[in-house]
Symmetry: C2
């Protein structure tokens, strides 16, 4: 086999993984900044999150193109094929996390026009920290190819749902107690839902890492969950 071809093929695969890891870092920053923006009512930060989102769209399209090119021209098998497909699928999940962060940032711009709602903001902050932590952990697992770490993220899927359900109830109580807060609270409901969905993407990424490393598509029997009813699709 031609050594030049082999080397360049491995280079391509490594570039793909590195680009995906880099996209992970940028996504983590976008999610973190969107949470900070909504908690600190920082419109400048919110606007910069909105402005930076396109970068993630471009990266995702680029990773997808490279992955398909690699599959078509290099015909990777087994491990390498899984690595390639994993990079493509993780990039999709990251791009959607970026969209959700952008949406949180946009809602921040509306929320800063309303009165501050401190107890709710603290609940959002707690849920935000939890979700950001999951995203960080699963990206650490990806760069380190650490199956145990990915599984740890996957098995704690419940925590985000519990936070979301309690925040949902808290928001409804707030609205009932003071109908003037209804508009702001409706936006907060979507902020909470967006955070929950970012948490779901972290779980998806954990499943993709599991598949990449083991070649098995499902983990255990099913994903753990407490209250299935209010889970967003």
């Amino acid at each position: 086999m031609n050594e030049h071809i082999v080397k360049s093929y491995e280079d391509e695969l490594n570039t793909l993984t590195a680009e995906c890891a880099r996209m992970g870092g940028l996504t983590e920053a976008q999610v973190g900044d969107s949470i900070d923006a909504v908690v600190r009512r920082d419109t400048t930060l919110a606007e910069s999150v909105v402005g930076r989102d396109q970068r993630l769209d471009i990266l995702e399209a680029d990773i997808e193109r490279k992955a398909i090119r690699l599959i078509a021209l290099r015909q990777p098998m087994a491990n390498d094929l899984r690595k390639t497909v994993a990079a493509m699928k993780i990039a999709m999940n990251l791009e959607r996390c970026g969209d959700l962060a952008k949406n949180i940032a946009k809602r921040t711009l509306v929320l800063t026009e309303a009165e501050p709602m401190s107890p709710l903001t603290r609940s959002i902050e707690r849920m935000g920290k939890l979700v950001l932590g999951r995203l960080k952990d699963v990206l650490d697992a990806y760069t380190a190819s650490d199956l145990d770490r990915a599984l740890a993220v996957w098995s704690r899927d419940d925590e985000v749902d519990e936070h979301y359900n309690s925040l949902f109830r808290e928001l409804l109580t707030y609205m009932m107690g003071d109908p003037r807060t209804i508009t702001a609270c409706a936006h907060m409901l979507f902020v909470a839902k967006n955070l929950e969905r970012i948490g779901d993407h972290a779980t998806n990424i954990a499943e993709i890492i599991h598949y990449e490393i083991t070649g098995v598509e499902t983990i255990g029997s099913a994903r753990p969950k407490t209250d299935d009813l209010l889970r967003e699709a």
Copy 2:
């Protein structure tokens, strides 16, 4: 070239497209039934939507596997590669529409426990018809490889956003007028958001068809929109 191989390759590609079209039909039915369930407060129908969703998950995983296999083993180029990637991406969008329909069905089960809210239900029904029509049109465009029809769906992206924005305002007004409706209206907010997102997936599918047929990834300069602020990520 071996004729047997060529034939079987075309067969594989046609099977992939047909399977994707079939998944489209099932998704359309799921979305339609979820809207009927919420409008008619039909819990039996809602439960059957929830129960049938897994079928779409399985189909999507199958289409993805087949598409990647085809790319890796058959190395399709140009048109055929685009056709393969398009089937894979459309299946992803359909799977997410199915999840959203399932979520609408689950919320129906909660909503039927509250008092009926007729004016709101009619607004949901109107928006549902619009969104279902878009999904149907774009799937027609896919099976007929009809670029004009796909572009027609794409260019009317605005209509769903307008409906969503007006429904969002209507729901807030309802909540403020009668705080006892807040819980039910919060679930309706998510039903409306889910419909908007199904509309977005129809737009995505139109873009994928455009790419499949023309090989060009973007349509015009950007997607049309009226109120960017409240668009879900």
